[in-house]
């Protein structure tokens, strides 16, 4: 199925959940309301003519500067081994209440992808069995891929810039 067909199928099943779509784009995408994510995803996997059995990737984008509202966007790339088609699903959530439904129950591989998206962008996935940081240490503060994240002068006991280290050696105090 091409982008038009997939988008039409999802729109027919969830007329209210689809916010926008790019059915004719080079990489077809469909944007859904955050509350409907889990339902749409389950339908994408279970409907026989869609059969998106492969969750390729879950990722997030901070929309500050490229969209009207500085929301956080979660992006799911899903594909189907059975039909060979793929689509990008998006959902935008406000940055101070970035919560989405987890899809770990639909694709087990989502577990680590969602942990990474929480770790680096601070999007919380409700219903995730074990939502911890995955790449950064537990004691890390903030989510570095958010555009308003500022690097602290020291992190985990180490200075984060070379100049500070030199200054410390020259000054002889820590």
């Amino acid at each position: 199925m091409d982008g038009n067909g997939i988008v039409a199928a999802v729109r027919a099943r969830f007329p209210d959940a689809v916010v926008a779509d790019g059915a004719a784009a080079k990489d077809p995408w469909i944007q859904v309301a955050p509350v409907a994510v889990a339902d749409v995803m389950r339908h994408l996997r279970d409907a026989p003519d869609l059969a998106f059995d492969h969750l390729v990737c879950v990722t997030g984008v901070d929309l500050t500067g490229i969209a009207e509202k500085p929301d956080l966007r979660c992006v799911w790339h899903v594909a189907s081994y059975a039909h060979g088609h793929q689509i990008t699903v998006r959902a935008d959530v406000p940055r101070d209440a970035a919560v989405l439904g987890s899809v770990t129950g639909i694709w087990p591989s989502a577990a680590w992808h969602e942990r990474e998206t929480w770790d680096l962008l601070g999007i919380r996935f409700e219903g995730h069995p074990d939502l911890r940081r995955i790449l950064l240490p537990e004691e890390w503060v903030g989510h570095p891929l958010r555009k308003d994240w500022k690097e602290a002068p020291r992190a985990l006991g180490f200075p984060t810039t070379r100049r500070t280290l030199l200054d410390e050696i020259r000054g002889g105090n820590g």
Binding site: A25, C57, T59, Y81, W107, P108, P144
Partner: protein, 390 residues
């Protein structure tokens, strides 16, 4: 509860053991926290992030072209694939054409790199199972590929060979013959390797019916590449979603068939890689025979700025335009997702790599295995630590 040497020992048959971060069979810096009951593994909790360098964050501060060397560091055994995937993503986002000769050179580099990467995997599987000689044999052959790639682009590990719009160097004189001569010997070596280890009785007993991953599990847990095919799923992006010049080349997709045990066991993953090396040898020959003459770098503006022709009819993408590509790397389906804000720097870049999901299945499959089998399972998944951590 029992009393021994005056100490009260809690009747806890379980022991928590850290396998890694520095353990010979973790192939890089990965920690597996094991809860053991004697030799039997009760739970496995992989702990990653030791090699996290924030590559996706670094990208946001660099130009599109300037980021290329960093992609080498994502997967040091398959740097060509990361080069290729990243270059393709940028080209797709900016609508850049790649000349045919450059496409052939890219596929040549990819397939040589695939052979090298699979050789390391085969070698380390055997080494983790206690056989040292096959590892040395495999590394000896990989060394020749390193030399060939060094002649092609000047680097042996972090190639930085590809450019947005093409490749950096043309095939130097004499290299075609050198590759063909080496291939003649290499194909004989592969048979020898096969006889040396693949059907070795001890090796078979360590591999067959161990760590069986069914097709359903492999798809659900997002396994890709040889790991997925070994479970009996007939999928290869080079054939199913042909990029570059793969649609003009002929090769077979190797699918696990459980020839000595069950479909999807450690042996199938090992065997699939050997067969894939043979297919790659054929691809290298085809590429060398069919390579057209012409430029190796397309027309690329000095500063890549996103007046992005995206979608049909050249509809402008503008800020927020995104594109993604998927290629078949040595570790499978690699996705690069790129978002532009219209400036010359990436706004957001995401690499989805095969090792990341391959490692996540360890917690699911490891429970109930023997420690020694866990090592076999882990080695056969071909996990590269910098690729999981990025």
């Amino acid at each position: 509860m029992s009393e021994e040497h005056g100490q009260v020992i809690e009747d806890a048959g379980e022991m928590v053991l850290n396998m890694g971060p520095h353990h010979p069979s973790t192939h890089g810096v990965i920690r597996l926290v094991l809860e053991l009951d004697g030799e039997v593994v009760r739970t496995v909790t992989p702990d990653i992030g030791y090699l996290h360098r924030g590559i996706e964050k670094i990208a946001e501060g660099m130009t599109w072209q300037g980021f290329m060397p960093y992609t080498d560091r994502i997967d040091y055994l398959g740097a060509m694939f990361m080069n290729h995937a990243y270059a393709m993503a940028v080209e797709r986002l900016h609508g850049i054409e790649v000349p045919p000769r450059a496409e052939y050179l890219r596929v040549l580099a990819d397939e040589l790199n695939r052979i090298a990467s699979h050789l390391i995997c085969l070698g380390s599987v055997t080494m983790d199972l206690g056989a040292y000689t096959p590892f040395l044999n495999a590394v000896r052959e990989r060394e020749v590929i390193n030399d060939i790639i060094e002649t092609l682009c000047g680097a042996r590990l972090t190639y930085n060979y590809m450019r947005v719009g093409g490749v950096s160097f043309d095939l130097p004189p004499g290299l075609r013959e050198r590759i063909l001569t080496w291939l003649d010997g290499f194909e004989v070596f592969l048979d020898e390797f096969d006889r040396l280890i693949t059907y070795n009785e001890i090796f078979l007993h360590r591999c067959k019916d161990v760590g069986v991953i069914t097709a359903g599990e492999a798809i659900g847990w997002g396994l890709v590449g040889p790991n997925l095919r070994a479970s009996g799923v007939d999928s290869d992006l080079r054939r199913d979603l042909p990029y570059s010049v793969y649609k003009d080349l002929s090769f077979d997709v190797v699918v696990g068939r459980g020839s000595v045990g069950t479909v999807g066991d450690v042996f199938d993953r090992f065997w699939c890689r050997i067969e894939e090396i043979k297919q790659s040898c054929g691809l290298v020959r085809q590429v060398l025979a069919g390579m057209p003459l012409g430029p190796i770098l397309g027309k690329v503006p000095k500063k890549l700025k996103a007046e992005i022709p995206l979608g049909p009819g050249g509809a402008k993408g503008g800020p927020g335009a995104d594109a993604h590509v998927r290629i078949e790397s040595a570790r499978g389906d690699t996705l690069v997702y790129a978002v532009s804000d219209g400036s010359e720097k990436p706004y957001r870049l995401r690499f989805r790599t095969g090792s990341f999901t391959a490692l996540s299945i360890m917690a699911h499959k490891g429970a109930g295995m023997m420690v020694a089998d866990l090592v076999a399972l882990f080695a056969s998944l071909d996990v590269i630590a910098p690729e999981t951590d990025r």
